[in-house]
Symmetry: C5
Subunit: 365 residues, 5 copies
């Protein structure tokens, strides 16, 4: 019972957010729901086409409007949704529905895709491993997609999308030649693929626990199994509705998404399914490990019981015999026999030996 910190290492508050902030208020009310944060909101703009690329950190979302109508893909990335004023401003400038703004700031949303005719609104869950606290962090990413721009909102400056930005900057792959739909795909793909990193981490933990289980089933392992189970429950809750989102996009219901991109989305969909199935597999394995743990515990109990039983069963009769000849009766003929003492040792040894043989036969030894 020494390592409660093992279990506590997963910050529960993050996975089970406080919902109640918005209860009772008018629909469309923008109020941040999540951990208190103080960081400044970062607004990053990348505007590119096959030839050119402009990248800027804006101080005001107002500056983005200039890029909106250019013949290029505009990617506005806003890091930090706790400053509701900035979100509201963006909303006004780009003409977003109040419900969308509510969903962006309320980071307890379920992944979903909503079609608002002029633009698509997508909510995703990005998950990554926080090496400092040894936690899995699940964060909300919201996307607004239009033929001209993509606006993405994230809670913190996680570096999951950085490789994608690098690819844009260095003109790697075909991304610079494609439209906003491909950019949206690339973001989704990055997020989905990052789940594999988490799964690899968990896979290694599972291997470690399996090995540890066979050597010695300590209570700490049990807490570890419980922690794993809990993490898988929450990962599953994040990825399961994303499957639906990607499936909808890849089905071709949205005219904004071109056929060339759909082939890629189909690939992203395959990856999502793979994540879902691996999580299910891991859950099956974790439940198998729990069975293994419990049986190990009862095997150990059994062993302890056997030792106790063997000791007690052999020595209790012997002690009784010794007790008999420790009695103080005046007339106990055996006590006077010259070979009495030797004979009694013989009796005791043969009792012990026959009991040992009996236990041997029962395979307790």
């Amino acid at each position: 019972m020494k390592t409660p910190h093992l279990l506590k290492s997963l910050s529960f508050g993050k996975l089970l957010p406080r919902f109640s902030g918005s209860t009772g208020s008018s629909p469309g009310t923008i109020s941040y729901v999540g951990k208190k944060r103080e960081e400044r909101v970062k607004i990053n703009l990348i505007d590119y086409n096959a030839e050119e690329l402009i990248e800027k950190n804006l101080t005001d979302s107002h500056q983005a409007l200039a890029y909106k109508d250019r013949e290029s893909v505009t990617w506005l990335n806003i890091t930090g949704v706790h400053n509701t004023k900035i979100i509201e401003e963006v909303g006004n400038k780009f003409g977003l529905h109040p419900l969308i703004l509510e969903d962006i700031t309320n980071t307890t949303q379920r992944p979903k895709i909503d079609d608002y005719d002029d633009y698509l609104f997508i909510v995703l869950k990005m998950s990554y491993f926080d090496k400092e606290n040894k936690n899995i962090i699940v964060e909300q990413v919201s996307l607004i997609i239009n033929e001209e721009y993509v606006i993405s909102f994230q809670e913190r400056a996680a570096d999951i999308l950085e490789p994608l930005r690098e690819r844009i900057r260095n003109n790697k792959g075909k991304i610079r030649k494609q439209g906003t739909d491909y950019l949206a795909y690339a973001i989704i793909d990055s997020i989905v693929d990052h789940y594999f990193t988490i799964l690899e981490q968990l896979g290694e933990e599972i291997e470690d626990i399996e090995e540890a289980l066979i050597i010695n089933a300590t209570p700490q392992i049990l807490n570890h199994i419980y922690k794993l189970k809990r993490e898988l429950i929450f990962l599953r809750k994040s990825i399961w509705p994303m499957r639906e989102v990607v499936s909808n996009m890849q089905r071709g219901d949205y005219p904004m998404i071109k056929k060339a991109t759909i082939i890629f989305l189909r690939d992203a969909y395959d990856h999502t399914i793979q994540v879902v199935e691996t999580i299910e597999t891991f859950r099956d394995m974790v439940s198998g490990m729990l069975d293994l743990y419990l049986s190990n515990v009862s095997n150990r109990m059994n062993e302890v019981m056997k030792v106790l039983t063997i000791f007690a069963s052999i020595f209790i009769p012997l002690t009784f015999i010794a007790g008999v000849y420790g009695m103080n009766f005046e007339h106990m003929p055996e006590l006077k026999w010259p070979w009495g003492y030797g004979f009694i040792w013989l009796v005791m040894i043969s009792v012990a030996v026959s009991l040992l043989m009996y236990f041997k036969k029962k395979k307790w030894l």
Copy 2:
């Protein structure tokens, strides 16, 4: 086994109502099914449009008819369905089908939506936390929706809808500019969102139990886990069919519900799904906690067994040795040896030490 009140604190009778009141009677018979109540029935009327607002407490449902045909939204809220006469009166005045009246007074209904051409009939389950008795209360709310009015029936004067009324009074948000369909949406949204408050409460209980489990797994915790499990079963039973109700409304099958409202209903549907999924997640976690509890109990039993085995296994052989030299045989040469007593202590100490080493090797110490 000291705190049976823990479990009893959840009033079972409420969650498992007596159904039999209406068995055998003619369909459409209006009979109240639920706890006996004495409070007076309260009839509250709010009639509003973008400019005006009239709010009144009526003594007779008859007075409501005057407002029905005005160019405004009329919201008639009836608190208390145990007075079947008043319900019948309302039914007659607004031309409601007898089956509806039966469903309103029989508060064991399952959430559902029925289309009666002239009006929609919706049954919902509202749940809130009763701070006095530390109970979750599940209550039935019935709605009649027409293009001109909304009639709502609740069992008790829970203040869940009060923030909504405030919004209407203060003309906050867009509600005063919208029709009855939006009012109906706003009521449903308030009810669904209140489930999050309950879930937050339960989430905290789960965190508390998890912490307690790691420190010490007492039988009280078990009862608490059982109580949680039971509450989740009943919450799930309430919210699951509401998912269907909101889904049907948002699908656009009812001409009464305008397109602008459907976007909001889609949002309410997302919230309902989120409630459902969080309940499922909690159930998974609670079942995980039960496993953790049971393993803790067997770990503890194992520890107790080990202590017993160590004590018994060490002292039983020693007692035997002492017993041997307590025998009264006349010819026991050892007894006469001058160093006999010291030697026997040596033997006993070495037996004890080697047993301790054996247990150390077995990792029992």
Copy 3:
């Protein structure tokens, strides 16, 4: 292990009927499958319209034909299907398909609805509580519905349909103004609603067991839980396919059923769903109770173990000490010390006290 009768009180034979009677015989062969019965078959006829009502106990099904073609609803109720000759006679007179007659007498049928163009054939399972034997009885009710008559077959004279007959006799509600489809609905509704009575009974049993579990988990409770589980399995098996039957009827596929009745069937369908869901909830609760029981048993075992361990661990070392000074060595200096005896008591008391403190620290006391 004292009350096996608890479990046996549920007559197993009834719930698991002998199927084999009809195996191998020609399809359409009419052979009674069920408990041997001796009672005379009762043929009851009610013929009514809004104005008139004729009720007769017939001695021969032949007499029913006279009423068949009148401008009224004819309800022929046959109690007892073990007399296959009478069933065959009815079949011939009303032109029923041989497979129907087979299904009526073979009371192991699954609830279903079959459309034979001229009439509908419905099989239902009626369940009621047999107060004498404290059993749940599940019985088959078969209905033949035509625009002119309803023929119902039941196994025994259960009084579930009696309130319905009363309503017809007293012209209560709208039944006398409606056709055979409404009568069929009224029969189905009576049967479905009676499940609520059973569920209420079981709900009370669950409450009782829950309370008993917290006070003392005896093996009898386990048998009771098992009995409950078993009853729920069989109730579920009865009601589940009835959901399908009522759903089909309410969907409007059968021209015989008028639109006005469909609204009522929709209501009956809601009730059926409610029964199904309550059974599921009960099953969840019963499985929760089993967990509670098992944990209680291991808690108790744990407590027993602790008492044993405390007693053994304290007195075994003390007995050893006493044993040492019971040895008969000639040279045992301690024995001659004037304060030896007092000193040894001191040693023993301090051993006992420190062990007690150790157990206190381990929270075993």
Copy 4:
């Protein structure tokens, strides 16, 4: 642990056939997969219409061709599929697809229906109770159905279809007036109905085990429960896909099957569903019995523990007291008291009595 034969009595090899015979060979290769058999293949021919009946045991399938085109129903039944040469011959003469022949001889097929335009090919699983070895035997029956003939292949001469043949011979029921589709139905019906015999057998076993469980939960019962579970798994595997087969036939997709027969197939479908549901119910019950068994075992362990604890806790302190006054200190004043011995008995009796009262209070006695 005395009756391993209980479990072994179910021949595992039969239920889990060797698949590998055909791996790697060309599709359509006819190779027998199953137990080695030596019996001669029996070819039985029945050719009938309403007036005439010819029945013959053929030595060569060639003789059957003469009957094929007559205005009558020809039923060719081949018992024994291990002689692949005969199967191939039949295949050639009746123009069957090589894949069909492969499926007939590979008796590990899953029940299915394939439409080969000219004929239907149906694979079924027939199950019966082998009284000699107390086994459930599952055997493959393949049917080829055409407007003119039915060819059936079975593995062994089980007498399940004998009553059907009797009915044809004696012109019982309507079978002689119907076509091949009705004959096919009659065969399927016979096979499905025979499952009820098995289920009745298993139902009785369940009742026996339930009774035995309450009296005494021996390890043999556990093996019996395991055997039951295993049999239900395999029965379910046989009947589940047959549900699909019969459902397809009764849906009217095959022009070969006339409307009059479809009514009968609907009935057979109902029976199949009933078998499936009864198996599910049995599985639920068996899993309930396992819980009951496990709890009984831990109850018993609890009882054993209590006896041990009571004995040990009472006598260990008494033995200690006796040990104290067995010490040989020179100065032990109590030993010289005239009433010392009587007094010490009093002390010991009161210790014993108060411990007994303590255990009584704890409800251990």
Copy 5:
């Protein structure tokens, strides 16, 4: 706890591959994901029609192009996908989409079928038993199918497809007369059928464990059960999506696949379902075996407990009696009785006998 190697014998790394290789890189990036390999890539070409057959081992994929447009079926088999350069070359020469090349080299793909208009891309999982390491190996096979050629990629030179090549070489069956669609079918069929070999192996293991369980439930068996469970989880994960792939092919959506081949694919589909169902059956059985194991362990514990209780309960009272008459009180009248010693033996024997009888009655002996 002696055989951890039992569990470790299944190479975990293979079943749970490292996914992260490709995370963050551009979609369509070809990077090998899997175990490091050094073997040379083998390129095998078979070009055949009904008359001719050419078989060659190529050194460069370039040489294959010459055969592509001939009036024959060209089968290019590439063993080893770790050399990404060769894969890229093939991709360029045959005009394959970059996503395909990524999927071929990333061997963690889920089985799937993608239609790229010009060709079909199929990913399969081939599984076979590695006799050396007693492992189940799951390997990825990718197929490109066109009207003119089939390109297959495998990870290692497993000999599963060798019998198929033999059939082509020897012109056995109809394969030489068919097109590429039949070749693709033949490959899929070979792979699916090989699962039966694995299942047979596992079936034998299950039989062995069942037998071992009844004789003696050692902890090694538990590890074996766990290993089995784990293998079934991974087999299921491989075959489950293959069901979908074959189902899609057999549904006739792809014009490339001719009607004659569809009949064969339907057969392959039946086999796939059979594999899936057998795996499910095995999983059910394995979970039953786990129950059996756990109950055996607790039965054994029970038996140990009984022996302990019987020994302790009989000898502890006897030792107490002996202890009483070992006390050194001066006035103990019994000690002076001439028959005192004999009498006390009588008392002790009768205590022992009555306790034995009590245990007999309790059925502990």
